[in-house]
Amino acid sequence: MENYTKYRLKDKDELVSVLAGKDNLFIIACNKCFKEFETIDEPECSEFEKLAAENGKTVTGSARVDFLCNKTQTENKLQDMIPEGTENIFVISCGLGIQTVADLAGKPVYAATNSLNYTGYHGMALTERKCDACAQCYLNVTGGICPIVDCSKSLVNGQCGGAKDGKCEVDSSKDCAWEKIYRRLEKQGRLEEFLNQPVQLRDYSKVNFKFVNDYVKSIRENRLDGYYGGVHPSERKEFTEHLALKRFPEPEEVVIPLSMHAGAPANPVVQVGDTVKVGQKIGEAAGFISAPVHSSVSGTVVAIEDHGHATRGTCLSVVIKSDGKDTLDESVKPNKSLEELTPDEIVEIVKEAGIVGMGGAGFPTSVKLKPAKPVDTILLNGCECEPLLTADHRVLLEYVDDVIYGLKAIIKAVGAEKGVIVIEDNKPDAIELMKEKTAAIDNIEVVEAKTKYPQGAEKMLIKRVTGRKVPSGGLPADVGCVVSNISTTKAISDAIQKGMPLVERVVTVTGERLKNPGNFIVKIGTNTQDLIDYCGGLVGDDITIKAGGPMMGFVLSDTNVPIMKGSNGIIAVETDHTKEQPCIKCGRCMDVCPMELSPLYFAKFADEENWQGMKDKNVMDCIECRCCEYICSSKIPLVTKIKAGKNAVRGMK
């Protein structure tokens, strides 16, 4: 594997002369990038420390930092890094890292290293191919062999004539690039085409530095817009965003898992043979962090047994055969109006209705509505930043009044000052409608947020809208916020206005491998395969089916699993064939991690089963948004490794 390490220590004589007259040194070494991730202990730092000691210098300390050129992170790290009494800072890094530190440190900064000359190596993978970025790609003329980097003289109109036995006259270890080009074109039968090509002139003014420099400025601003990190995966929402909600036909049988939420599974309160009605409680909450479960059909309980579950493997579930009559349970009746309800009554209704976070995590909403700290702002997450999914988008459009009602209920239950509905700018119709509907409401505002995944993650949402940062290991309530999902908010409205517990939800069934995508109102417990069949089935082979979106969804190896409270989507996408490759320390995962973690270490430490290392690198702060895995140029299954690390760290306590 190539190694693009870009610096080496200056020679001893030069370093000694630089050190002369300087004392109280602090040393910052950049852990090298673009090389195989073998060690986190690069030798240069200790070599330089040794040299400084030999020359009688006091070293106030040293630090090894990843990707020193990542200015935002370096700035954060520098704040507490440099001890008092430091007079001079020596940086071991390529020229970029040194300049970054020099700009931020406010103290004399010196280079202990020279950057190595690796001109042309620009690919993300460690490859032998080079590109000199000449801004006038010649590869179309030369059969894909670059005359600028492969020819010593960068000739663009054929060989110089100086090659001997196919070797370059400038560097006899190199093949003549033009001989290679000739052979390639001959093989492809393109010699004629090449020989008839007009003479090429290299235009050195093509690289427009103004364009490049302006671009750099704009991209830095864009990258850091709202919160650090994040990615922009292809949205592909056009399959379903314009499709109105349709009610999925009454299922013949539903399988309702007793665990569709975070915390303890519900305890069944019905028996095989019992007749049940829509909205009737069939499982009761088994603790503080738990939620009751209700029947979504009227009919007969035919089994209470373990059944396939999208996220837990198997789970005790109540199987109900529908009588097709959809008879409502007597308990389903409207509550008092919102004005008459007390905050405690609202929380009780939400609890009894079995409402849990419907974005996927399934945290019981009633617990969220009783925050331990005072809350001033309720954020409604209308981002739906997951690609492909449009369920919340449709709910926003088609149940706008219910969503606003639900938000008012949350504001009242929590005693907050205001509610903010945050919608990403890829849903202009929803923004417009919501603005119109809330114009006359004083304490509700609509915020349009620029699309960036994972904006819907509560910590990112809070940072973006309020600028507050939820502390490590903390909850939104620590910074005075409660975040609620759109579908959840609509469910709260249904629970209050209709008395209807959470027995159905909106599901987007989509993906490029699904015949007829759509948005459906689906009863909890409906079989996933029935949903896929109803949409015309799958197209082609080599398909991956996921419950949820492409980023955070769970792969379904078996589609015989029920739709649950948190099932916002079922997607069928093309399987991506890649295999895990060694980490090359490209630094992209650190650039995109919204929690500002260093995912590359999680991969390394998980392989070494170094769980303490995982803990020290704050693995527990990871929100499993999968940005790192998405961007990874070596296709390392980072989230799987992170989950293993989290489990092990939990076990350490």
């Binding site: 693009y4 870009k6 630089v18 673009f34 050129c69 990542n70 390529c94 970029l96 300049q99 970054t100 020099a102 004399p108 900064v109 280079a111 290293t113 950057s115 190595l116 000359n117 690796y118 001109t119 620009h122 690919g123 993300m124 490859t127 191919r129 590109c131 000199d132 970025a133 801004a135 790609c137 590869l139 179309n140 894909g144 062999i145 670059c146 390639r184 093989k187 690289v207 364009f211 490049v212 420099n213 671009y215 750099v216 400025k217 991209i219 830095r220 990258r223 990615v231 064939h577 890649t578 295999k579 490759q581 490209c586 630094g587 992209r588 650190m590 650039d591 140029s633 070596s634 296709k635």
Partner: protein, 207 residues
């Protein structure tokens, strides 16, 4: 670090005229840059003209192993095409061309350099990899890249109102260096002996 721009329509037209085309989009560096809108527009035209045998949108085609795994499924579509049109930087095009040695592989984009290496993020700093770092003498502002003339012994004298005479939108690198040195109390560094640049490459030096 590299970014790309779609080639002009005049340059692209002869590559695809009357030909069957297989399209490869590389979005590995999309978080930095990809001319997504322009590329999509052009590809739409090609598709509606009925000359596209297949499209894949993937990432990091510069990584040959995964590129191969992903292309394998599409080999029949590639074989049916006269030309494989790659929307990526020059590294990506060369990697594909090397793999599909018998196929005409063309670049749909031109590649531009960005300040910074392929490194983590595009930066406002540049490093020319000169192999003899000058930052010690200049308070951490690089005279090779921040001065249009890459002077290493002080200003040329041509700047006007602090702006470079070569590029009036650029601040004079040596004025910046002077200010920085003043700020950190190291103006004495300017009294160092005259410097001579060594243009030899690392390889030559090591010989």
């Amino acid at each position: 670090m590299l970014i790309t721009e779609l080639k002009s329509r005049e340059a692209l037209a002869p590559l695809v005229e009357g030909k069957k085309v297989f399209i490869i989009n590389c979005e590995g560096c999309k978080e930095v840059h990809f001319p997504g809108k322009e590329a999509a527009e052009f590809q739409k035209e090609l598709i509606s003209a009925g000359c596209v045998t297949g499209t894949i949108t993937t990432d990091y085609i510069c990584n040959p192993d995964n590129m191969k795994l992903r292309l394998q499924k599409h080999m029949s579509e590639i074989e049916a095409a006269d030309v494989v049109l790659v929307f990526s930087c020059g590294v990506g095009v060369q990697t594909i061309a090397n793999y599909l040695e018998e196929k005409k592989v063309c670049a749909a984009c031109d590649t531009y350099p960005l300040p910074g290496f392929q490194g983590v993020t595009p930066l406002e700093y540049k490093c020319d990899q000169c192999g003899e770092c000058w930052l010690n003498l200049t308070g951490g502002i690089c005279p090779i890249t921040a001065c249009s003339k890459s002077l290493v012994n002080g200003q040329c004298g041509g700047s006007k109102n602090g702006m470079c005479e070569v590029d009036s939108s650029m601040e004079c690198g040596w004025e910046r260096i002077q200010r920085r040195l003043e700020q950190i109390g190291r103006l004495d560094l300017l009294k160092c002996p005259t410097n001579v640049r060594n243009f030899a490459t690392d390889e030559e030096v090591s010989k």
